[in-house]
Structure formats: structure tokens, C-alpha cells
């Protein structure tokens, strides 16, 4: 049994078929990139894996747990403990500093620990910016805080939706190198959605989607 196993997942909105019977599997510790044009269903698929959205039918097994059968409270616990998210926008709380933003994630998980938050920020190279507010940080720095925030609760799965979409090539590389380093050290599973072929070259597999279906599953042509 794979760590993440989707079987015939269908997601329909009123006017569109977002996912048309998607089946896929991801092994524990694997880094999988999902590519495809806008509207192909990449983000919907990511949201379903992360428990942010639910399918109309099909099975979503995460570590042998069918998350489609979870109640609201159980789903909240699943999201809190098993997943970490990074989005295109940083979604950092503007009036909290970098350390406090990380501690906020700790607080909702269990309890805040400033020392641990500082260590996590140091690991992403932000140890010198602990007390800076998001507005005092560059886009790349904000995204690094987001990575620290996503990983602070040791989630097991990191879900990244266009994490470098707002960054220039140089910062994109910095973020991807950081993710690669952390992935090697901590062995968590990464599912990253991107439409950028440069980003898609990082990781171990690339799934290509089109019109709500996976049309290609291959290894990247070249690593970063």
C-alpha cells in the first residue's frame, strides 16, 4: 500500500468537471510535482489530498486512512497534524513577526514554543529575521517563513501550490534548494503544483494533468 493512494477520484463543480476519475499513488518520502495548464485540476487534486476539499466520489487513502470518511473535527485534526501547506501568496499574519507566525501554527497544533520556532526559522536561513514583520521581508524571505511554518509541526506531507509563482528565478532557485535540502534531511513527502517546467525538474516524479485527468507520469528530465 502506497503512502498516498487515490482511486477514481471525481470532483465536479456546478459547471465543470475538475477531476475525472483520477487514480494515483505516492510513496512515503517521495517528491512529486504536478504540472499542467490552468484549469487542468492540479490545485483541486492538491486540495483533496490535503483535506481542504472533498471529492464527489472515489477513495483518498493517506497512510491507510480514508480521509473522505472523516468528520469535520477529524479532518481538522488530520490537516493540523499530517499536512503542511505552502501557497503562492505567503498568507502570513501581517501584524505578527516571523517567529510569531511560526508560533501561531504551533499554537493551533498544540502549544507555542518560541525556542523551537526560532530553530525552525534558522533552518530555513531566517534566524536573523525572527522579529521582522512580513512587510519587512522580501518575497523569497516570506516564502521561507512559510516553509518553516508548514514544517514546524512535523507534518509528513508538504503540499505546495505554486510556491514560487511570485518569485523571480534567483529566489525560486533558493526556495527549491531549501526544499530539496529539507526533503533530504527530514524525508517528508512533497506534492508540489506548478506550471513552471523549471520547477517541475526538481523532485522525483512529474505528473502532467489535462482536463481533470493525469495524462503523463514520468521522471523529470533534469534535476536542479
Amino acid at each position: 500500500m502506497s503512502f498516498i493512494q487515490l482511486t477514481d477520484v471525481i470532483k465536479e463543480y456546478k459547471t465543470a468537471h475538475a477531476l475525472r476519475g483520477v487514480s494515483m499513488s505516492v510513496e512515503k518520502g517521495e517528491w512529486v510535482n504536478i504540472m499542467g495548464p490552468s484549469g487542468s485540476g492540479k490545485s483541486t487534486l492538491l486540495n483533496i489530498i490535503g483535506g481542504l476539499d472533498s471529492p464527489n466520489s472515489g477513495e483518498v487513502l493517506i497512510d491507510s486512512l480514508d480521509i473522505t470518511r472523516l468528520g469535520e473535527d477529524e479532518m481538522a485534526v488530520f490537516r493540523r497534524e499530517k499536512t503542511g501547506f505552502i501557497f503562492q501568496q505567503s498568507h502570513l499574519v501581517p501584524y505578527l513577526n516571523a517567529a510569531e507566525n511560526v508560533m501561531l501554527a504551533q499554537y493551533f497544533h498544540s502549544m507555542a514554543d518560541s525556542k523551537e520556532a526560532a530553530e525552525a526559522l534558522s533552518r530555513v536561513g531566517m534566524g536573523h529575521r525572527l522579529t521582522h514583520k512580513p512587510s519587512q521581508l522580501s518575497g523569497g524571505e516570506q516564502q521561507r517563513v512559510c516553509i518553516a511554518r508548514a514544517l514546524i509541526n512535523n507534518p509528513g506531507i508538504l503540499l505546495a501550490d505554486e510556491p514560487t509563482g511570485n518569485l523571480d528565478r534567483e529566489n525560486t532557485k533558493v526556495i527549491l534548494e531549501l526544499l530539496s535540502k529539507l526533503h533530504t534531511e527530514e524525508h517528508f513527502t512533497i506534492i508540489l503544483v506548478t506550471h513552471d517546467p523549471f520547477v517541475a525538474r526538481w523532485g522525483q516524479r512529474v505528473l502532467t494533468m489535462e482536463d481533470g485527468a493525469i495524462i503523463k507520469d514520468e521522471s523529470p528530465t533534469a534535476g536542479g
Binding site: S110, M111, N154
Partner: protein, 459 residues
């Protein structure tokens, strides 16, 4: 329907229902539902013992003995909860005895005996009270039927609450220390054996603690000023009454009672948690958060108890101590050096159990005497003054006389014993008609009080 009997029956039923509910919820929370059986067995045994005691009354089942058992149960439970708290916080007071708790048979025996000890005094006390009430109301059957109705109504109430609400979640608020403290609180707030006159034990406990506080402060004064300090003896002794006044001593007594619950609160919020073994910091943080949350959850009943105690303390305890029976002294005169007071005349009866005061005037100075019948039906005659306080005299409250100056409660049964804040005893010859007291003895002892030398003892 005899209302008073119904309420007393309801109160006892409510206690049984409440203890059952909390105990059952606690056991259920720990997956030990079957351990409730010894509780049922204990309650059944008490019902049988109570019925037997009506048929075969025993001389040792007296109000005083039962009252003492209830007070002792409260003290034992309170102290046990403290020991259990220390144990739960890692202090192994009993060393290898700790293992006893995992033996289910031992737990079953403890629950059974605990149930017997907890409810037997209440049950017997209620029966004794109901017997008195039935004599007063001249309605034996009506009294017992009313009381049984109250008891059944309370039990039905709990069964309905349990059936409708299934409040088993309350079990998560309790551990052994909280459970023992809860039982102590039920004893404290669940009242004694005098029906309406003692709906809670607060006044009795307050008297006990006030006596303790009094003795403590008094001994401190004595230690500080032996022999009477030249500078202090005329000043501080006169202020000692402040420390024994109803407000000060009531608050000191309340603080003494709250020491243990406050220790629970301290343990719940401030004691460091054991460092958990965990694979990663997030999991470790989660375990710590769960432990902290559990501790705080289990502090909730303690906070409720503290609020209840404080509320009950100020709503009935302090007030009742200050409500004293303090009759006006009747003037008497000596005839050939003897004061003769009739045991009974149309205006009074010295055997009625109430405090009687008399006054005689010597050289323009009023000297007061007190006379009261003791529980053993003997008459006690004393000066209306003690050896240590300013001679403001005594008032009566139930089976105690209270020193008006320092508020110390003195059990009537100890009247006639010299020393401390007890009234200064006088030798009296009593026959069926008169109580005879020698004037010389009164004047001699009064001289000690008047000059303040009584603090060094009356020779």
C-alpha cells in the same frame, strides 16, 4: 407530608445520587465500569444496617458520636486527597504500597468499605434526626414516609438526568485526588445530623478551625510574652480580641481550609510537567499540551469547590457564629456567704439546656455567673469570664458557649474544666431544689480576673 422530613430525605438521596454519578462517570472514563458493583453492595448494606438499627437500637449510636464520625470522615477524606495529590505529582509517599492501586480486588474492597464509612454516619444520623422529628410532630409514619419520598425523589431525579443527558463526560474531570476532594466536599456541604439546623457542616467546621486558630494565636501570644512583658502586657493582650473577632478568625479559618484546594490549583497550573519521550519536537509539544490541558481540566472541579466553600462560608458560617444567645443576668444576693439559686422557678429552669446568667454586686462592682446543664445532666457553675480574655462573658450557640471577647467556641460538655478560654469553674453544691455557691470562692477568683493575674493561672 412533613416538609422538613421530605427535604432531609431529599438531601440524603441527592448525596447518594451525586456520589454515584461522579464515581460511575470516573470509573467509566477509566474503562472500569464493573467496579461500581461494590458501591451498590455498600449502599444495600447500609440500607439493611439502618433498618436493623431501628429494630435494635444501640447505645453507641448517639448524635454526638455520629457527628464526630461525619466530621472525622470529612477530615480523613480531605487529608487523603492531599496525600493522593502528592502521589499523583510524583512524590511516592507510600513507596512500594503504590502497586496496591492496580489490584482490582483491593480497589473493590476499598470502594465497599469506603461506601459504608461514607454513608453509614449520614444514614444513621438522618434516622436519629427523623426519630426526634417524629416525636416532635407526633407522626412517626408520616415523618418516615415523607423522608422516604424525598429520598426516592432525589434518586429518580438522578436516574432521569442520567438517562436523558448521559453526563459521563464529567468523569474526565476527575482523578483519584479530585475524587477524594469531591467526597470531602460532599461531606462538608452535605450537612450534619440536625436536619434544617445543620444543612451543611460549615458552621461546625468553622467552629473547629476557629478554635484551632484561636489556640494557635493564643499560644503565640503566650510564647512571645512569658512572663508578661512590661511594655506589652497592658496593650497587646487587649488587642488579642481583634484576632479572634468573627471577621479575622473566620478568614484565617477559611484560608486554612483552602490550603489543600489551593495546592491542587498550584499543581495544576504551575508544577513543571515531566519531560515526555518523543520522536520529534512537534509530537513532544503535543504530549505536553495534552498533559497541560488534562491538568487544567482536572483543576475545574477544584475551582468549583473553592467557589462553593467560600460562598457557603460567608453565607452561613460567619453569620451563625455571631448569632449568640446571651440572656440578661438575673441579680442574686448572698445570704451568710452562700448564694442559693433555685433549680426551677416559674421564670426559669436550670435544667433546660440553655445558658443562664446571674449577677451579684460587691462593693459597687458587678460579678456575673453562668449556669448551664451539661449533656450528662449535671449542672455546671462558672464565672462569666475566662482566665485569658477581658471578662466580656459568654453567649450560647447550640451545644457550645462562645467567648464574646475572642469568639472561641467551648463545648458545653467541657464546662467545669479549668484553663484556657474555658469559663472559670466554681464549686457548687446542687440538690433537687437549689444550686449553692460560696461567695468567698467567687470573690477570690474574681480578684484574679479583675487584676489580669488570671492569665498566670488561678491558684
Amino acid at each position: 407530608m412533613i416538609y422538613e422530613a421530605f427535604v432531609v430525605g431529599f438531601k440524603e438521596g441527592f448525596k447518594v445520587g451525586l456520589v454515584w454519578l461522579v464515581l460511575y462517570a470516573y470509573l467509566n472514563n477509566n474503562g472500569k465500569n464493573h467496579l461500581i458493583r461494590p458501591f451498590y453492595l455498600g449502599i444495600t448494606s447500609i440500607a439493611i444496617l439502618s433498618l436493623l438499627s431501628i429494630s435494635f437500637p444501640s447505645a453507641c449510636i448517639t448524635k454526638e458520636n455520629l457527628g464526630n464520625i461525619i466530621a472525622a470522615s470529612f477530615a480523613v477524606l480531605l487529608i487523603s486527597s492531599g496525600f493522593a495529590l502528592f502521589h499523583a505529582s510524583g512524590v511516592r509517599l507510600f513507596g512500594s504500597l503504590s502497586g496496591i492501586w492496580i489490584n482490582e480486588k483491593v480497589i473493590q474492597v476499598i470502594i465497599f468499605i469506603g461506601t459504608l464509612l461514607f454513608f453509614f454516619s449520614d444514614s444513621m444520623g438522618t434516622l436519629v434526626f427523623l426519630q426526634d422529628l417524629s416525636l416532635m410532630k407526633e407522626a412517626l409514619l408520616g415523618t418516615f414516609v415523607s423522608s422516604a419520598s424525598g429520598l426516592i425523589a432525589a434518586l429518580v431525579f438522578f436516574l432521569v438526568v442520567f438517562d436523558r443527558l448521559r453526563p459521563l463526560w464529567i468523569g474526565s474531570f476527575f482523578n483519584v485526588p479530585q475524587l477524594l476532594l469531591f467526597l470531602a466536599m460532599v461531606k462538608l456541604l452535605g450537612g450534619g445530623i440536625k436536619g434544617f439546623a445543620e444543612l451543611s457542616l460549615i458552621p461546625a467546621v468553622q467552629r473547629g478551625f476557629m478554635k484551632f486558630a484561636h489556640d494557635l494565636i493564643h499560644q503565640m501570644f503566650v510564647l512571645l510574652m512569658i512572663p508578661d512583658h512590661m511594655l506589652l502586657r497592658t496593650t497587646l493582650w487587649n488587642f488579642i480580641g481583634f484576632f479572634f473577632g468573627p471577621k479575622f478568625s473566620s478568614i484565617v479559618s477559611l484560608l486554612i481550609l483552602l490550603v489543600l484546594p489551593m495546592m491542587f490549583i498550584r499543581h495544576s497550573f504551575f508544577n513543571p510537567l515531566p519531560a515526555p519521550e518523543a520522536a520529534n519536537p512537534a509530537y513532544k509539544r503535543k504530549i505536553v499540551a495534552l498533559l497541560m490541558s488534562d491538568r487544567r481540566k482536572k483543576a475545574l472541579p477544584i475551582i468549583v469547590f473553592i467557589i462553593l466553600i467560600v460562598f457557603a462560608w460567608f453565607s452561613q458560617g460567619g453569620e451563625s457564629v455571631t448569632q449568640l444567645y446571651n440572656p440578661k443576668p438575673k441579680p442574686v444576693i448572698a445570704d451568710k456567704g452562700i448564694i442559693m439559686i433555685p433549680v426551677k422557678d416559674p421564670t426559669m429552669d436550670l435544667m433546660d439546656g440553655r445558658l443562664h446568667k446571674f449577677s451579684l454586686t460587691e462593693q459597687g462592682e458587678e460579678i456575673r455567673l453562668i449556669i448551664i446543664r451539661k449533656p450528662d445532666n449535671t449542672i455546671s457553675v462558672c464565672l462569666d469570664a475566662c482566665e485569658i480574655c477581658a471578662p466580656e462573658g459568654y453567649g450560647q450557640q447550640g451545644d457550645h458557649v462562645i467567648c464574646i471577647f475572642c469568639n472561641t467556641p467551648i463545648p458545653v460538655r467541657t464546662m467545669g474544666e479549668p484553663g484556657g478560654c474555658n469559663p472559670i469553674p466554681l464549686t457548687a453544691a446542687t440538690d433537687e431544689q437549689f444550686v449553692k455557691i460560696e461567695l468567698d470562692e467567687i470573690l477570690r477568683k474574681w480578684q484574679f480576673v479583675k487584676t489580669g493575674k488570671s492569665k498566670e493561672g488561678i491558684k
